[in-house]
Symmetry: C2
Subunit: 389 residues, 2 copies
């Protein structure tokens, strides 16, 4: 499992994340794509292929064939352009596929994008579309929506390890605090533990402010072979590891409800490939679709011991000033979660942080960054590790 050659990020661009009533699906793609191309310094003619992550455009906007649509919107025809889907990890698998394509020798420079426009349908229809990330036949069709699936994981974690609702709330409080400093974030306002505790149950023990929002947004990055990146970029960030693992689609089939095996496997493989340990990571963007998801993520990725994620968070270790800043961008909770875009946006945050360009949310002298993107209730996990070239 050694790539034929190394791959680096040489630019990134985003739309603001939020409710875009004045822009359609295509316009979001164009905006993020143009921003990424400008940032990278390459010209459109230099881009040889496109990989775009999108989860459920068929349900959200009635449109498939997203690869061709992206190339078209950006005037990149006739290069190959392909859509990747792995539910909420669609952006992560698009990134990973772009990396493999460059590593294969087929291309020197490719664009990777992620998009979701989720606000064109009713909340009920959005819930149905998102249910497609799980096993519809045995989950959503039987009443287990995504908040319910994560609520079961939270309940199991609380029973097994004594994790409290207040500890879960601390995740949301921290991520909102970080989002204040992210101009592209959906929620740029601080909240308190009391706010979370009083925000009303969606599915006990998860309350409204334990849940990431419905969001519109797009993100894009430009990848180059590291050899090429050295020639053309001063800001290149090398991708030291790109790993992906799968677990059962249905939560009920898993080994446990309080651990996420796919994330553990992808994380362990990534550390091994990069030749480092969790202690070496300077910051991480993890998939906090619900607060419990961040707790389980930091345990699976080895930033704290199994079962101690709640306490580790409440003790402040994951704050910007803590031992390992988690989600400096604001995470899915504070920044927003346009599902297909999330994995790509995480990589952009790593790119900015490692270049010292994250402004008011800058982590101090970061060396290694990590991103962790999850599909569904954990059936897909994608981990990347980055270092400034």
């Amino acid at each position: 499992m050694v790539f034929m050659r190394s791959v680096s990020i040489i630019g990134g661009g985003l739309t603001p994340f939020g409710e875009h009533w004045d822009k359609n699906f295509k316009e979001l793609i164009a905006e993020a794509g143009v921003n990424a191309i400008k940032d990278s310094g390459v010209e459109r003619k230099d881009i040889e292929a496109v990989y775009g992550g999108c989860m459920a455009s068929g349900r959200f906007v009635g449109q498939e064939h997203i690869g061709a649509l992206i190339a078209d919107q950006l005037g990149l025809n006739p290069i190959p352009s392909t859509r990747l889907e792995a539910a909420c990890a669609s952006g992560g698998v698009a990134l990973r596929t772009g990396i493999l394509a460059v590593a294969s020798g087929a291309y020197d420079i490719v664009a990777v994008g992620g998009i979701e426009k989720m606000t064109e349908v009713s909340t009920e229809d959005a819930g149905f579309a998102l249910g497609g990330a799980g096993d519809q036949e045995t989950e959503l069709f039987m009443g287990a929506s995504f908040p319910a699936l994560y609520a079961m994981m939270a309940r199991a974690h609380m029973e097994k390890y004594g994790t409290t609702e207040e500890q879960l709330a601390e995740v949301a409080v921290k991520n909102h605090k970080n989002a204040v400093n992210n101009p592209n974030a959906q929620f740029r306002r601080e909240i308190t533990v009391d706010d979370v505790m009083n925000s009303g149950y969606i599915t006990s023990p998860l309350k409204l402010l334990d849940c990431s929002p419905i969001t519109d947004g797009a993100a894009a990055i430009i990848l180059a072979s590291t050899e090429k990146a050295k020639e053309i970029s001063d800001t290149a960030v090398e991708i030291l590891a790109s790993t992906q693992a799968s677990d059962t689609l249905a939560l009920a089939q898993r080994r446990t409800l309080y651990e996420t095996d796919a994330a553990k496997i992808a994380g362990d493989q990534a550390y091994k490939k990069a030749g480092i340990t969790p202690k070496d990571i300077s910051f991480a963007e993890v998939h906090d679709c619900f607060t419990i998801a961040e707790i389980m993520a930091i345990e699976s990725l080895g930033f704290c011991k199994k079962g101690e994620g709640g306490k580790f968070t409440a003790d402040g270790n994951t704050q910007m000033s803590g031992e390992i800043p988690i989600n400096p961008s604001g995470g899915l909770k504070g920044k927003g979660h346009p599902v297909g875009a999330t994995g790509v946006a995480q990589a952009i945050e790593a790119y900015l942080q490692l270049n010292g360009k994250a402004e008011k949310r800058q982590v101090k002298n970061p060396e290694y960054g990590l991103t962790h993107n999850v599909g569904g209730s954990g059936a897909t996990a994608v981990v990347h590790i980055y270092k400034k070239l």
Copy 2:
């Protein structure tokens, strides 16, 4: 654009194509996957990653996260498993992505699948889902369904080159004739030009029997690095070229209505990469979603001159006994067109033909095979060229 290493097919498996009222989405995947693994002679533990093509499962069966679902159904966890989408070329891009992944050095052996279960929804809903292959905003939402888009291309081709409705009918007649000899085909019965001419207009000049059907089905193949394939397989078929090109999503934006530029570009690149010319190809599986599509395909791929596809077909050149047998499997018209599976099924036909295992539809002593898979009205085209190792 030279791959770091060569990749070969070492096995393939299909479900029958047709209306599967007794099998669900998951069961079709399991059946094709198990058939492919058995055929390849590898064990499940040897497979390192999965790439699955599927166009619109969200619309057809309410399910996304198809990569994880495939790995789960086949007991392949925890290996990475990812869905690819490019409308009706989803299978083709899944194949191409699997090839890049092996060429990248990340994996020695991967599985590639394709699936679509189209009969769970009404014909109207299926039409809406398929409209997502075009530019919904300016096409289907304005009344231009897929038969209408291809009807416009047919009309333009007829006006420009004098192509006749009878010549279009000859495509359907030939493909039904070939399908009789394919045990997995949806329509194993011969039809006549008169049958086509009298089958009623769907959108003039296209009649019912000019159109490929709504189909359920799945297909899977196993890929290995050619180095590995030489060690473990006697039936390996090397992939000499894997190319993909994009055109505008909306038909109205194209350079012309009577030529398919993406197919021409992907075809030319493939011939160059394989170091051969159209004359060297022994047979081709092309994307005949409508009869006019096959006419335009054989022109774009250089099997006949521009504008002469209708006459070339009517003269018998694309028959099994002709100069260049086109769609020995029966094509999309005769074999059926479960959109996400089609590109993978085409590759299986090439694999069988080049191994002399195509039974009653065997092409005589084939040397090079070609497959051509199209998304939408031509916004994505994927071409592969194969040779027995």
